[in-house]
Amino acid sequence: MSLLSTVGRKLVEDTRNVLLTPVEAARDIRYTVRGVRNGEIPPTDPLKTVGATVGALLLVLLLLFPVYWILQAALSGTGASLYSSNGLSLLPEDPTLQPFIWVIGDLVVPAYNVTVDIPLTGQSLVFSTPELTFLDASAHGVDRPSQFKHFLWNSVTVAIPTVIISMCLIVPAAYALSRREFIFRRKILFLYVLMTQVGGGLGIALLIGLYAIYVQFGLNDSKLALAVYYAATAVPFNTWLLKTYMDGIPVSYEEAAVVDGAPPWRVVTEVIIPLSTAGLATVLIFTFLTGWTEFVVAQTLLTTENYTLPVGLYALIDEYSIPWARFSAFALTFATPIMLVYLFAQRYIEGGLSFSGMEG
């Protein structure tokens, strides 16, 4: 509970920081200008800062150019293609948000009737909540929006069990590997590091075997089974990552708790877990991403109504053509949450990946 409120507070704080950035920047500029005017700061100094920032911006723009390229296609509306023989144009000719509206579809909170019985009178009051329309797709010329929300729901219902299951598998293991000395410990660690990548591209035959097994157990088309699979693939890397992070937490916190009379499980819940927040956040995001973008296994195991976002994205393509505008809008809408999450989880991730315990 307190963890949630902590996270909430941090979020608020981060948001404020992000929002205050311009204010702070303005202050910064005023101070610098005054400094330069008074001759306190050599004029080259702010110039260097500006130069460096502009350089960095250019680099970021260059890196993100493909993304912009996609965005450009998305904004160009139907008929857009990434292969344009019309010459290089960096701005869409007549930009339209329609593809995005098509992706998102209606945002409508339907009307509900809330009935409250008034005791004794035998009567009841009926409140109707108004229908809230945030976005009416048909008003923007989109009659049949995509199934994005449906796929999103599927993705979320796969990703959340993935995260929960993998956390259940990873956290105790990481703790044990970090803190206890037991038989096979080093062997397991070694295996995990080794398997972080080897498991990946075993190819189509693996898929056949995997699928056959799933069917054998009647588990195909089960989002939960898919989640278990994702969790399994996430185990080695993330266990190792979290273990490394936990190595950096001083043992004295646990000892303090033990001397304070805490039983082992309380030590874990009250001390270890809260102290590993950064590591946990990192692992959480990585496990989340495992399933979020995975395509091949999902499309093999799931039937249409259970399609996750990447599969849904791919179902937009047929044999001969790619509707680039919608395709791109879909993909971008799909990727934005990741960026936002990262923006807010940045300090945890960057802290959680510091490998502070790695210096052997």
Binding site: T53, V60, E181, G203, V235, P310
Partner: protein, 321 residues
């Protein structure tokens, strides 16, 4: 006598969780699930590689269980392996794959370290926002991005890269239909796919470099380059090495880029090992052979990881000294 009674007494009084070897129990569930999903298919693959499995015989039996017992495919011993090892295409593929690993890892490292340095530089304002912007590619499904890059590397004069070339007065290049340009295109795409992860790790590592070391070096008279070589690089070596090994393995197993770009072409010249396996398995419907190729690839990547993990001491932790 005394020791014995004391021992038993201790066993009684200390909760089992504190007894070190029982801690293995914490690791087992993860290990088990992982093994079930990853090791079993590998074993299946091993079995498959000793048969002449093809769609016609593999699916000939009744129900899915028959698939697990390889249908009506017959045991052919090491034939698949000898065939593969005798195939010149395999050795070409093998060589190209390692070359690809070498070049793409070098590029990825170079780009990621430079980008990470830029977005952590004190001089740059708005670093945090930039950092979260540049990881955007991580959120896009790889197959989507690769399709997009495929379009940019179009050999047509109006392909994006060719148009950019044209802006600078260069001749358009037939990217995907000539060997080394295609190889180059793979590398650029791979670099773009992998940089977010690498940058995240490098940024974390950079932020852990003690500022004082830089200051000490500055006072010692070191310029930017000298500080980078003598302070920054050694300090971020381990995490970056770790990321490099992971990403090397990813490069080794790259499938989508060559496949989407030009099926490992032109003329199978750039067929990375997984593409080679896929082609043998599917296009020519030889699952057994495909399995053998996959396994050979797995063995190589396994050995590669093993050597690096050993050498980089990546499995060691602080408590292992």
């Amino acid at each position: 006598m005394r020791t014995v009674s004391r021992l038993t007494q201790r066993v009684e009084r200390i909760p089992f969780i504190e007894q070190e070897d029982y801690s293995l129990l914490f690791v087992l569930p993860g290990l088990f699930v992982f093994a079930a999903f990853m090791l079993f298919p590998v074993l299946y693959l091993v079995g498959l590689s000793f048969t002449d499995a093809a769609p016609a015989n593999l699916f000939a039996g009744e129900g899915s269980f028959a698939v697990l017992t390889f249908g009506e495919a017959t045991f052919v011993g090491l034939k698949n392996y000898t065939d593969v090892l005798a195939d010149p295409e395999f050795w070409n593929s093998f060589g190209v794959t390692w070359l690809y690993v070498a070049t793409s890892v070098a590029l990825k490292l170079g780009l990621s370290i430079s980008v990470a340095m830029v977005v952590t530089s004190d001089r740059v304002r708005g670093r945090r926002i930039m950092r979260s912007l540049i990881i955007l590619p991580m959120g896009l499904p790889a197959i989507f991005t690769i399709t997009v890059w495929r379009s940019m590397f179009s050999s047509a004069d109006f392909g994006l890269i060719n148009q950019l070339f044209e802006q600078f007065g260069a001749e358009p290049v037939a990217w995907l239909s000539t060997r080394w340009p295609a190889f180059f295109a793979y590398n650029v795409t791979e670099m773009w796919l992998a940089y977010p992860f690498m940058v995240i790790i490098t940024v974390s590592a950079l932020q852990d470099v003690p500022e004082e070391l830089h200051e000490a070096a500055t006072v010692d008279g070191a310029g930017f380059l000298a500080r980078f070589i003598h302070v920054t690089l050694p300090s971020i070596k381990r995490p970056v090495l770790f990321a490099a090994i992971l990403t090397a393995a990813a490069s080794f197993q790259q499938f989508l880029i060559p496949f989407v770009f030009n099926q490992g072409g032109p003329a199978r010249a750039n067929e990375l090992i997984v593409v080679y396996g896929y082609r043998e398995a599917l296009s020519f419907s030889q699952y057994g052979r495909g399995a053998a190729i996959s396994l050979i690839a797995v063995v190589f990547i396994g050995v590669f990881m093993w050597i690096n993990v050993k050498r980089g001491k990546l499995a060691d932790g602080v408590s292992d000294e």
